[in-house]
Symmetry: C2
Subunit: 334 residues, 2 copies
DNA sequence: TATTTTAAAGTTACCGATAACTCATTATAC
DNA sequence: GTATAATGAGTTATCGGTAACTTTAAAATA
């Protein structure tokens, strides 16, 4: 590989002069600059960013850690983060924790040893605390996305889980539903707790008693609630509507229902958090509380870069991005 | 940040000894090893991989360059690549070219200056030649995925575009269709050319004349064929079926058709390349030639790592992963 | 003409690791 | 008891850049 020393030699200048030309620092005569640039082109010089990072103590790399790359929500978020990173001149080191704390820890170690300048972090759940504390202990700036982690104060971009859940359940109640089931994520994830709260609150406001037998807890990422769903449906008084806490769960639920010959929405209504993008474009079916996923990523990067560059940024900034109730056809009046 | 020198000092040994303990090289007494390890834990030492890369001349980073992160095909591929990278102990530097040669070039420059050990490269199209030649000029091993680039010989993982297209069109012909339109990607992309060939061949085999007025060319990533579709449908003898060259195009086409009140498959049948994952799980509607996207990524990494590590790997290995015809309900007999 | 200023370039040390070699000890062989 | 080998650890140079300072020579000023 060509180094500044090769350039220096061929251009008959010192390595420092080459460095100055590259970075546009110091005083360089127009003639020398041209000469050096010419040699750089001739030799196809590409700066070694490892060497640069070593001395500058910064890498111009940001890390994006998400929990499910096959979920369109995170995909759009990644797209936003990518565009943002590019705009600010950072590279993006990418990680996918699969909602798995151990995998997440591995990525944190990678991130640390890469000496990235900052991390955009979508935590797997409450137990991400340790991993986040590790980043903090090493003074790596981070912005938490999507899910709050009790015990960690930091910049944060979240959705309105509680509010969005309320809106969805309100909508179902408005359609006349009273027996509304909740297929929720794991309770060690903040959004699952908040969506539960929103669900409970919406019911309470309408004087509908909360029935714990109508609630299933699942993993946000891989749905396998078949048995629980069975129980749900074979109750004496089965639900007429289901609120799934995210898109993946909704798809799983609907598939299971159809496997049983139960039609949506004719026999049972289904709504959920997060949209399905391509799927919704193909067939505007699922009624959802859609979150502005791209914004999550783009704004996340913005906050992160401000935090990295800016000294005078307020302590822990919280941004709440509202979700939008998109009414389609997966829920109907009772 | 803690360095090996801090460890060395506190443990009363030389930095070299610490390095040897970290890498398990050289001769170290059990006692010293324990002492050093203890100090490393106490000080929360994390190795600086930039420094390491500089001297070792390798980064343990692979780069994944795809063309559309919102397309489920590439998403699954990324998932496979990620798992593969992790398995082999590499980090993944992620790039998304958006089918844009300029963006692709920027990423190639990033990749080069990061001194990644190898690149998994899904080219935007034929004009990616320059970018690939640049990688080659700098001796960065790469594996091309999904699309061949004329002028470049390298390890490659592709689908069976021609064969898959033939199968899809055969299927349509079998249903009685004779007027079959093709909504294709841009012709500077190899898969678009091959899918066109497969389409033409299937027609020819059945003695159906090729009608160029039934063919629309689009960008694989953002569909906006409204005007062309209009012309297509207002022909004296409009198509009874449409073969879309990928999933994104299919979704666009179907949306446009529905906007016009044309029903799929009642009024017109639609099939395409690549599946829609979540969408198909939600509603098994679209009849597709599904490619094993995850395999693309996983095998890609495998070939790449073999290329990096192995000296005795044959020159340009081509892997063709077959697609599977998944018959659902978006096409019906005429 | 002597002195100061300024522009342009070069020197040196360092970022944090590792390779290759050297240097003490201690153990083993003759 | 001396020569040799084996063990455990340390020295030095280097990877490819950049910061901070120094040097050189020409231009400006007195």
């Amino acid at each position: 590989m060509v180094t500044i020393y090769d350039i220096a030699q061929k251009a008959n200048v010192s390595a420092m002069t080459v460095s100055k030309v590259i970075n546009n620092t110091g005083r360089i005569s127009e003639e020398t600059r041209r000469k050096v640039k010419k040699v750089m082109e001739e030799l196809n010089y590409i700066p070694n960013s490892n060497a640069r990072s070593l001395v500058l103590q910064q890498t111009q790399i940001l890390s994006l850690l998400i929990t499910d790359i096959t979920n369109p929500f995170y995909t759009s978020l990644a797209r936003g983060a990518e565009d943002g990173a590019k705009q600010y001149g950072y590279r993006l080191l990418f990680g996918n924790s699969d909602e798995d704390y151990a995998k997440e820890k591995d990525y944190v170690d990678m991130i640390l040893s890469t000496r990235v300048d900052g991390v955009l972090f979508a935590p797997a759940g409450d137990l991400s605390l340790k991993n986040l504390e590790k980043l903090r202990a090493h003074n790596i700036p981070f912005v938490i996305m999507d899910r709050a982690v009790p015990g960690i104060e930091s910049d944060m971009i979240c959705g309105d889980s509680k509010e969005g859940a309320r809106k969805l359940v309100d909508y179902l109640i408005g359609l006349g539903h009273r027996r509304i089931a909740l297929v929720n994520g794991s309770l060690d994830v903040s959004t699952a707790r908040l969506r539960y709260e929103g669900y409970a609150e919406a019911l309470a406001l309408q004087g509908i008693p909360l029935d714990e037998t109508l609630i299933i807890h699942q993993n946000y990422r891989d749905y396998h609630a078949d048995d629980h769903l069975e129980q749900l449906l074979e109750q004496p008084s089965p639900p007429t509507a289901i609120f799934a806490a995210n898109n993946v769960l909704a798809v799983g639920v609907i598939r299971d229902l159809r496997d049983r010959g139960i039609r949506v929405p004719e026999d049972i209504s289904v709504v959920c958090f997060d949209d399905l993008d391509l799927s919704s474009a193909l067939d505007p079916f699922l009624t959802v509380a859609a979150q502005p996923a791209y914004q999550f990523g783009a704004m996340g990067i913005q906050l992160l870069v401000e935090r990295i560059r800016g000294s005078s940024v307020p302590d822990s900034r919280k941004v709440i991005l509202p979700s939008e109730l998109v009414i389609r056809s997966s829920a109907k009046p009772i």
